[in-house]
Amino acid sequence: MKYLSEFRDPELAQKLFAEIRQIVTRPWAIMEVCGGQTHSIIRNGIDQLLPKEIELIHGPGCPVCVTPLEIIDKALAIAARPGVVFCSFGDMLRVPGSEKDLFRIKSEGGDVRVVYSPLDAVNIASENPDKEVVFFGIGFETTAPANAMAVFQAKQRGLTNFSMLVSHVLVPPAIEAIMSSPVNRVQGFLAAGHVCSVMGYWQYEPLVQKYNVPIVVTGFEPLDVLQGIRLVVAQLEKGEAKIENAYPRAVQHTGNGPAQKMIEDVFAVDDRTWRGIGMIPHSGWRLHDAYEAFDAEKKFSVTDIHTQESALCRSGEVLQGLIKPHECAAFGKECTPRKPLGATMVSSEGACAAYFNYGRFVALDEVEVQNYPG
C-alpha cells in the first residue's frame, strides 16, 4: 500500500463519477470545508467532471485565507524588529497585511524563515540564544498538536527566547456559524479528514442533529473526495442527515487522544475573528495562561494593532457560498492574485484565485491529448 496512487485511480474515479450521476436527481450545494480538499478538487479538475446539479462551495478551511488581517499586521510588526527570527509555514509569506507582506519584511532586512515544523523553530531558538525566535502558529486543529508540542518543548527546555503568534481556528464553530446564517445555502458538508484525524468526529453529531445536515468525514485524494461527495449526495437524495466516515484509514471516532491532550494542555478556547467572515464565538485557540510567557503578542506588545479590511472585498460572502467570485465588482479589476484585496484571492486554493485562473479559460472538451506517438 502506498496510500497515494491507489486513491488516484482514473478507472475507479470514473466509476464514482458514474455512481454520483446515477443517484443525483436535483441541485445540491455541498461545502468542502478544508482548503486541502479545495486544492485537490481544483488540481484534479473534479468540479468540472461532476454532474452540473452538484455545486461545490469552497469553505473557509484554508488557514492562510482566514487568518485575520490584524494578526498578519502583528506578524509583520514583530518580524520587522531587529534581533527577531520570524519562522512561518511557507505560504503565509505572501499573504498581504495592510501594507506589506512577510517577503517585503525579509527584503527590508527582517530575518524571516520558512520552516516545515514548529519544532524547527524551537531548535533555532535553542541554537540562537541571543535572538528572539517567533513562530507563526496558525491553522486548524490539524496543525495544533505540533504547535502545542513546540510550546510545550520550549517550556520544558527552559527556552526564554521562543514565542508563538497564535491564530488557531476550529472547524465545528465555523460550520455552526454557516448553518445558523439566515442566508445559508449549504446543504451538506465534507468534513476535513485531517482535522478529524486529530479531533475525531463525535463533535459533529450535535451539528448534524441540530441542523439536519449530512456531514461526511472526507480525505484528500481524488477518490476520497469523490467518495465523500457520493455519500453526501446519497443522504441528501434520501432525505437523511447523519455523520459518516469516508476516511476510515486515517480517522477514528474519538480521534487522536495524546494529540488532544497536548492541545488541551497548551491551548484554551477563545473567540476568534476570521478574515472575511468576522468574529465567531469560541472558534479558536489561544495559549493557555500557564504558557503566557510564550505569547508573542504579549511579549512584543502588539496587542493594540487594529486594522480595517478593504471595503470593496466580498470574500466573506464568497466563503459562505453566497456569491461566486466573479460576482464581486472588484474581481479581476482591483483584486487579482498579484494584488489581492481579500484572503480568497491570496491562497492558490482560495475560491477567488481559483476562479481567476479558470475564468479566463474556455472549455477544453474538444482537445484530445491521448493519441500521440510514443
Binding site: L4, R8, P10, A13, Q14, C34, G35, G36, H39, I42, R43, N44, G45, I46, D47, Q48, L49, P63, V64, F89, G90, D91, M92, L93, R94, F103, R104, K106, S107, E108, V114, Y116, I138, G139, F140, T142, T143, H194, P222, T336, P337, R338, K339, S348, N357, Y358, R360, F361, V362, L364, E366, V367, V369, Q370, Y372, P373, G374
Partner: protein, 352 residues
C-alpha cells in the same frame, strides 16, 4: 550617462511598484521575474536580439550565427546529491546555448568568493567544472575572481557566459511553436529541485533524490541531425516545466495542453513533492529539455532521444493547440482539466 529609470513613467498598469524593493520572488522564475525583465531590463537595453527572450541570444557575424548566453549560480548548498555548484554552472550555460540549436564552444567564468571559503571546497568545485567542460567538449577560456567580506556571500557565486555556433538552416526559438506540434520531455522532471530542497531542509526520503545536472549539447546535436522540424527547445530550469511551457505559449501565441499521466516523475520526487505540498511541474531541472516538434517528425525525434542515456525516459507529454493562446492546460490524472498558470514568485510549501 543615461538618466536613471523613473519608476513613475513605466507604462504597465501593474508594474513592480507594489514591491519597491527586490524580493526573493524576483529571482523565482515566475511572474515577478518576467515582469522585472519586461519592465526594467528590456526597455533599458532594448534590441532585437534581446527581445526574443530565448535561453540564448542569436547574433549574425560574418555569415555565421552565434548564440550567446549567461547565467549566475547562487545555489545553497554548494554540494548536493548528484553534483555541485561548479558543474551546474558549466552545464547550465551549455544547455542555455544548446536550446537555440547551437553547439556550445567556449565559456567564461566569474567567481565571487566569500572570505573564509575553504580552498579544499573551491578545489573540488573547480575540478568538477573542468571535468564537466571536458566531457561536454567546451573550453573555459577566460575568467575573473573577486573576493567579498565574510558574511557578504554564500561561499561562492559563479557566473558563466558561453558562446556557440548555430548550424546553417536551424531555426529554433521560443516563438516557433505551431498548433499541431507535439511536446516532448527528455526525462523525469523535478529531480534537481527536490534533490537540493531535501538537503537544504534536512528532509530524508527512502530513496535519495539525485540532481539530474547534465550537459545536453550532445543530445541536442543528435536531435537536430535527425530532424529539421524541431521548433522549440527549452531547458526547464527555475520555474520548471510549467513556467517554460507558459513562456513558450506566450511567445508563440499558442495554447499548450499536457497530459499529467504522461509527464515522467520519479516516485521519490513525487512523494517529496506531495510531502511538501509542491507541484513537480514547477520544480527545477538541470539536465532535462522540452522539445516542441512537428507531429510528423515527433516519433523520429523521440527515438533518437531515447537512444541517448540522457533521454531514455523521454516521453510525449502534450500538444500545441490553437485554442486558449498563451495558456498552459493540464489534463489531470483522473481525466479533468486545470489551468497551469505561472507562479507569482517562488513556489511555496503549503501549510496543509
Amino acid at each position: 550617462m543615461t538618466n536613471p529609470i523613473n519608476i513613475d513613467e513605466w507604462t504597465c498598469p501593474l508594474p513592480l511598484r507594489d514591491h519597491p524593493a527586490i524580493v526573493m520572488g524576483h529571482g523565482g522564475g515566475g511572474k515577478l521575474s518576467s515582469e522585472l525583465v519586461e519592465h526594467l531590463f528590456l526597455p533599458a537595453f532594448q534590441n532585437d536580439m534581446l527581445a526574443n527572450l530565448g535561453d540564448a541570444s542569436v547574433v549574425g557575424l560574418n555569415g555565421t550565427r552565434l548564440a550567446m548566453s549567461t547565467d549566475s549560480y547562487v545555489i545553497q548548498p554548494l554540494f548536493f546529491p548528484g553534483g555541485n555548484i561548479g558543474e551546474l554552472a558549466v552545464h547550465g550555460t551549455i544547455n542555455d546555448i544548446s536550446m537555440s540549436g547551437a553547439s556550445p564552444l567556449y565559456l567564461s567564468c566569474g567567481f565571487i568568493l566569500e572570505e573564509g571559503l575553504p580552498l579544499e571546497q573551491l578545489g573540488r568545485i573547480v575540478d568538477s567544472m573542468a571535468a564537466a567542460a571536458r566531457s561536454a567538449g567546451v573550453q573555459l577560456i577566460t575568467g575573473d575572481t573577486k573576493v567579498v567580506d565574510k558574511g557578504h556571500g554564500d561561499g561562492v557565486y559563479i557566473n558563466t557566459t558561453g558562446i556557440g555556433l548555430i548550424p546553417d538552416g536551424v531555426t529554433i526559438g521560443p516563438d516557433q511553436a505551431r498548433p499541431g506540434d507535439v511536446v516532448i520531455a527528455s526525462g523525469t522532471i523535478g529531480d534537481h529541485g527536490m534533490a537540493v530542497m531535501s538537503v537544504r531542509e534536512g528532509l530524508q526520503f527512502e530513496t535519495e533524490i539525485v540532481s539530474d545536472t547534465a550537459a545536453l549539447n550532445a543530445l541536442v546535436a543528435q536531435m537536430i541531425n535527425a530532424s529539421s522540424q524541431i521548433h522549440v527547445l527549452r531547458d526547464p530550469t527555475r520555474g520548471g516545466v510549467a513556467s517554460s511551457l507558459n513562456e513558450i505559449a506566450k511567445a508563440s501565441r499558442v495554447g499548450i495542453v499536457i497530459d499529467e499521466n504522461k509527464v515522467p516523475v520519479r516516485p521519490a520526487v513525487r512523494s517529496a513533492c506531495e510531502f511538501l505540498g509542491m507541484d513537480p511541474l514547477f520544480v527545477a531541472n538541470e539536465g532535462k529539455l522540452l522539445a516542441i516538434v512537428s507531429e510528423a517528425e515527433a516519433e523520429k525525434v523521440l527515438a533518437v532521444m531515447k537512444a541517448n542515456p540522457l533521454g531514455v525516459d523521454a516521453a510525449v507529454i502534450g500538444r500545441v493547440v490553437d485554442t486558449h493562446p498563451g495558456m498552459l492546460v493540464a489534463k489531470t490524472g483522473i481525466g479533468g482539466t486545470r489551468v497551469v498558470a505561472m507562479q507569482i514568485g517562488e513556489q511555496l510549501p503549503r501549510i496543509c
